[in-house]
């Protein structure tokens, strides 16, 4: 057990979780106090001692599923029978499944249906399990579906995403959902459901289907672990923490995840900056307040009072490239900057591709920056000729229209990969702006190694910037914006 735990902790560290030695010891201690055959309890014991942030939960869960997967073939009665209440219901199906599941897991018997289940039978069984919300039946169906559709090949170093996709595609869950809804409609009291009831029913069925999907995923994982061992699989399914996802190459799922973490992140940043501002320095002695305070100690000024300092807030100009490749990065940055806009005296934002447009107005009076960011995509006027990035034209246009509004209190952030499609660079604009503005920063979402390769001319601009920062992940972005205010 201790070996398994050490392996697990190592895996957590590899996926980026900061697990200290004391936490490892705590986990070992905690494991002693819980019944080992209770898998849920083990999970929470490990989570409580090893994972100290809800953002890390996903990575933990993935690793846990791999390392402590429910193993079949061993202990027929012991481990499975004692699972948490959810799985308790399915012990019958589980047992039946195990007896037939030995070896390759190809032939499956028991549970009331024959060996070669036809696709129709399988679909019918799935439908039944969903409508009755029967977890045991769901697991049986998941196991069968994986047998039939996943087409797993032993020994291949994969994480199983494709197997999952293949299984689910064959089951056609959308059609199943429709059928479930149809059933619900037919079964309604007055012949048809009201909109509210329909919506509630749909959410209920979606939740059940999600549960089924997870059952399929667990099943695939389990087989992969059996095939290749936990550590090898852990390497394939390891997912980066949300803060470490490369924004430019994020998948759609990852982008959604980023959106979810962005809001708490920006709120934390705002709180931190507000506190830093208030407590950063002590102002001069407030003589009057000190004297008044001293009255309670007989005129002895025991506690001196200080005035609150009010440092000037910077004014921010965000100039962002929103052409295809870097668009999502620009969106995240704008979102973050506006979320903490109370820390700046003014934020003005401009977006460009080859033309440039001011988009500050979209953010005015909007509570949620995400809404405004969404509007930018559809409403901003950024195309000048052909819709390929032209930094030179965009910058000179910026200089012509708004250059005189840049003062010594302004900080300018340019966002982009500086891939200029071999147009003129227009770097004189930055040179001029740097002379006028307090700071000019360039945020580049590309890895530093790629800078200056191909049509990237970030080097040319760098000469006129106070700093050029590699900004690929939310962590880097947060760090930069935090230092800005």
């Amino acid at each position: 057990m201790l070996d398994l735990l050490s392996g697990f902790v190592t895996e957590l560290r590899r996926s980026g979780l900061p697990v200290s030695l004391t936490e490892h010891l705590d986990a070992a201690e905690a494991v002693k106090h819980i019944p080992l055959e209770d898998r849920e309890a083990l999970k929470y014991a490990l989570a409580a001692t090893l994972v100290k942030s809800s953002a890390h939960w996903r990575a933990f869960e993935t690793a846990f599923e791999v390392f402590f997967a429910v193993r079949t073939g061993r202990s027929e009665t012991g481990a499975e029978g004692d699972e948490g209440d959810e799985e308790g219901a399915d012990s019958e199906g589980e047992q039946a499944g195990q007896s037939g599941m030995q070896g390759q897991g190809r032939s499956w018997k028991g549970g009331g249906s024959g060996e070669g289940m036809t696709p129709e039978e399988l679909a019918e069984l799935l439908f039944k399990s969903l409508i009755s919300a029967d977890a045991g039946l769901m697991n049986v169906v998941a196991r069968n579906a994986v047998d039939r559709y996943a087409g797993m090949e032993p020994g291949r170093p994969v994480g199983g995403t494709y197997y999952l996709y293949r299984t689910l595609r064959n089951l056609d869950l959308d059609a199943v959902l429709e059928r479930l809804m149809g059933q619900a409609q037919a079964g309604a009291a007055g012949g048809s459901l009201t909109e509210l009831e329909e919506r509630l029913a749909a959410d209920e069925f979606k939740a059940r289907i999600e549960k089924f999907r997870r059952a399929v995923e667990t099943e695939i994982r389990r087989r992969l672990v059996e095939d290749r061992g936990a550590e090898a699989l852990a390497r394939s399914v390891r997912k980066p923490l949300p803060e470490d996802i490369d924004v430019m190459h994020a998948t759609r799922e990852e982008l959604a995840l980023l959106h979810r973490v962005l809001q708490p992140l920006s709120r934390k940043l705002a709180v931190r900056l507000a506190r830093k501002r208030r407590h950063g320095r002590k102002g001069p002695l407030d003589f009057r307040a000190t004297m008044r305070r001293s009255l309670s100690t007989g005129g002895v000024p025991i506690e001196p009072r200080f005035r609150h300092p009010r440092p000037a807030k910077p004014e921010i100009f965000v100039v962002a490239d929103i052409s295809g490749s870097v668009a999502s990065f620009a969106r995240f940055t704008l979102h973050l900057v506006y979320a903490i806009s109370s820390q700046f005296s003014k934020v003005r934002s401009f977006v460009f591709v080859d033309g440039i447009d001011e988009v500050t107005r979209f953010f005015e009076g909007v509570v949620d920056p995400a809404e405004a960011v969404a509007r930018i995509n559809t409403e901003a006027d950024v195309i000048w000729v052909d819709g390929h990035s032209d930094y030179g034209h965009a910058l000179s246009e910026f200089h012509r229209r708004w250059g005189d509004q840049v003062t010594s209190r302004s900080s300018i952030m340019v966002l982009g990969d500086a891939r200029n499609n071999y147009h003129a660079s227009g770097s004189w604009v930055l040179e001029d702006l740097q002379a006028k503005a307090r700071h000019v920063y360039w945020l580049n979402p590309e890895p530093r190694d790629y800078w200056g390769s191909g049509d990237s001319i970030v080097g040319e601009y760098a000469a006129h910037c106070d700093d050029v920062v590699e900004c690929r992940t939310l962590r880097q972005l947060e760090h930069f914006v935090g230092n800005l205010a």
Binding site: P18, S20, T22, E23, D26, E29, A30, H33, I34, P35, D38, E40, A41, Y44, A45, A47, A48, T49, V51, K52, S53, S54, W57, G84, T194, E195, L196, R199, L200, D203, E204, A207, P264, R267, K268, V271, R272, R275, H279, S296, T297, G298, I302, V367, D368
Partner: protein, 309 residues
């Protein structure tokens, strides 16, 4: 507990509070707190390992209530430290009552006229004794002789530097007062810290705690909570309430309805004598669940729109 307290060099503080995982869960249910697996598991471990619990999660999911329920269950006194910005040692740990000390010194000076007053050494000994100590929640929890549950509420509101105050108490169950020496706990208090996650807590603090994330409950648990907490509600209505709230939480709202808001809503419906919720009825009472106009509009549009007309 005895093992853990021995490891900490503390006097044995009695048998473990809980027999088993099920005992925790059953006990909490008895005092009206429906815990899920993870909550009862962590409470159980906290007792066995003698470690504080850091509870995080969205507002209104019963973080503070958990500490209160555990106190009630174990028959312990609840000592609560509400954190806020600017909280310092003198408000959290202890403070010397300097007005009283001042009086003591002055009293000594007046006595001098007749006979020799106390020497300075005596006086110093005297004014830095326990008589002049004002105990604040943290010290109080340590010095208590009866069982206590210490609740440090919204620990994320204090500054990073102030967090350090908590560290000694959390890992060693002791407080060092320079003039008096170290005060050690005579019993091990159960400690709960809650956080609303407005900032990242320091690694040092997290490392000393067990971590528990309480999220919105799932459908079944929420329904049970509604049924236990709202007297007179029918099974059917509780089910409907729980389902509507779950659907609301899947929408992208600025502030998703919390458990306490769900309960408020259920109570309102019971008071109004509602048997089943229809769209119009839901619309009229939606402002109890959602606190932003934009959210209410959105929910109305998504969930209740057409059928209300």
């Amino acid at each position: 507990m005895s093992e853990a307290s021995a490891a900490l060099g503390l006097p044995d503080a009695g048998p473990p509070r809980f027999e088993s995982l099920d005992a925790v869960r059953g006990g909490l249910a008895r005092v009206g707190y429906l815990a899920d697996e993870s909550i009862s598991g962590v409470v159980y471990l906290a007792d066995r390992l003698a470690k504080p619990v850091l509870v995080e999660g969205p507002a209104g999911t019963g973080k503070t209530q958990l500490a209160k329920s555990v106190a009630e269950l174990t028959g312990a006194r609840l000592i609560r430290l509400q954190c806020y910005e600017g909280l310092d040692e003198s408000k959290a740990l202890y403070e010397w009552n300097y007005r009283k000390q001042l009086l003591r010194i002055q009293a000594g000076e007046h006595g001098k006229a007749e006979e020799e007053g106390p020497s300075w050494a005596e006086l110093e000994e005297d004014i830095f004794s326990e008589d002049f100590l004002l105990t604040r929640p943290l010290l109080e929890a340590i010095r208590a002789t009866e069982p206590v549950v210490l609740l440090v509420d919204e620990v994320d509101r204090v500054e990073l530097e102030t967090e350090a105050l908590l560290l000694e108490i959390l890992s060693e169950y002791q407080v060092s007062i320079p003039e008096l020496g170290t005060v050690r706990a005579s019993q091990l208090p159960m400690v709960f810290l809650t956080s609303n996650n407005t900032r990242e807590l320091s690694e040092a603090l997290k490392r000393r705690c067990l971590y528990l994330h309480i999220d919105y409950p799932d459908l079944d648990r929420e329904r049970e909570i509604v049924r236990t907490k709202v007297p007179g509600i029918t099974e059917e209505l509780a089910d409907q309430v729980a389902r509507i709230v779950r659907s609301l939480r899947t929408l992208e709202l600025r502030k998703a309805p919390s458990v306490s808001e769900t309960l408020d809503w259920a109570r309102t419906l019971v008071l109004l004598g509602v048997q089943t919720i229809d769209a119009a009825g839901a619309k009229d009472t939606l402002h109890i669940l959602l606190k932003y106009q934009a959210d209410i509009e959105r929910a109305t549009k998504e969930l209740l729109s057409a059928s209300s007309g």
